[in-house]
């Protein structure tokens, strides 16, 4: 249980795992997924994978579904995947459609460092907690309970736990100021 000053993150260039610059179909997606998974397994210490689509011309929905979306689902709660340059409208729609179907949230960060959630909208009850967590490098339930109106510590903990379970956030254990153990939540960034 070592508190992390920096979240261990690795860049992942999707094109390097594809046979061509167009990702077409489930079969090609499954092949790419196997390569992606061994890459992830080669980085056991990494918690976040920053996915770049540089050099990828197109992906269809089936390919999107079998690759990054499947990867995020497979490692939900353990490792996070986010897009750092998903600007092509068509690719974005296709990843969105695939993420929606898998009920797997995926974050896109734009150049200004603003996040957008693809695939799943957080429910009203946890949306504010997610907003809070996304603007901070790390967030604790106690901090959120303190800053939000009418949110108890227990309530804040529950909301963060739900966000973690649903794949919006990651978490790790850390020493709490009171001497016990608490969870520190963070997003894939």
């Amino acid at each position: 249980m070592t508190p992390m000053n920096q979240i261990p993150a690795v860049d992942l260039r999707l094109r390097e795992f594809m046979d061509a610059d167009e990702g077409w179909g489930r079969e090609a997606g499954r092949l790419t997924f196997q390569r992606l998974m061994s890459f992830v397994e080669q980085h056991p210490g990494a918690l976040v994978f920053r996915v770049s689509l540089g050099g990828v011309r197109r992906v269809d929905i089936s390919f999107a579904s079998e690759t990054i979306v499947q990867l995020a689902r497979r490692y939900r709660g353990e490792k996070g995947f986010c897009f750092i340059d998903l600007i092509d409208i068509d690719q974005r729609e296709n990843f969105e459609a695939a993420a929606q179907r898998a009920k797997q949230p995926l974050l896109i960060w734009n150049r200004q460092g603003k996040p957008q959630v693809l695939g799943v909208e957080p429910s009203q009850g946890i949306a504010d907690a997610l907003k809070f967590a996304l603007i901070k490098p790390k967030a604790r339930a106690a901090e959120y309970a303190k800053s939000a109106r009418n949110v108890s510590l227990t309530n804040a903990s529950t909301k963060f736990k739900q966000l973690w379970e649903q794949g919006f956030l990651l978490r790790c254990e850390a020493a709490s100021p009171s001497g016990g153990v608490e969870y520190v939540y963070f997003s894939a960034k």
Binding site: W24, D60, S62, S65, D90
Partner: protein, 303 residues
Amino acid sequence: MQQLTIRLPPRWVNGSALEQTLRAGPAPFDGSASDVHFHVPSRCNLMTEAAVRLLSLLNQLDHATRRVIIDFEDNEDVLGYLNRIGFFEVLSPNVSVLPKRPTAAKVRRYRGRNPNLVEIQRIDRNHRDGDLPKRLTEAIGRACENRPDVHELEGAAWTILAELIDNVFAHSETQLDGFAALQVYPNGNCLKVAVSDSGLGLLKTLRPALQNQAPKLAALRDIELLVEVFKQGLSRHGADRGCGLKGCADKAIKFGAELDVRLPQERVLLVSGTAGYTPNRAFCYSGLPLIWGTHLCFTFKLD
């Protein structure tokens, strides 16, 4: 030995006109007929989706041991057009073409001369051609280069072709090749993307799986079920799948595209409204003459 004659009308023939012709005449798969004769008169012009459907039908009839003749005697123009789009290269060699089947050399000579025209591409289930959607979509870049949304249009057409062709590989269960074609009609202000296979048909493979997975959906009439396939995305492989066809529909709806789905004995024409494709904007035709497979055509309006 009995012969059937199906006469196409002397005008533009799209998917609807082809259906009208087939419904008005004898059913091509009529059990008692050993010879099926198609007559293409002068002034008859085939639009992309009609051409690929007719192609599938001719090959199916040949596969079912019918003696098939297509007669262009009065219509050299459409013969030339079909030749340029590679129709005769993928038409079964057993099908007789009158007055004469064009040679392959002539086809190659015409290729690439018209930027709006794309050859019919074979979907060979034994050999996956990784460039197929790209090759078809490139025509949009050539024909619509001045449109501000050309990139988006290309992307939408590519995704539709990629998903539909992938479905032919994954689901159609056919021994015959499928076909894909794309054509921009500048005067008709539209773009047509058509994919055709000779399999069992979309609902035939979906319904048995739905009986267990989603009995409520399985109880829907064909037209309602077909709308749901494109609206919510349904797959015989379970709730995690099916997003491909839904995604195609979503892309098409953005451009107000019509979707024409021909199944073995039914056809549904979906017209997009503010709520996308809905049953009250679907036109259904049942009890149609048999054509095996799933034949889809998206018509994008290019205003």
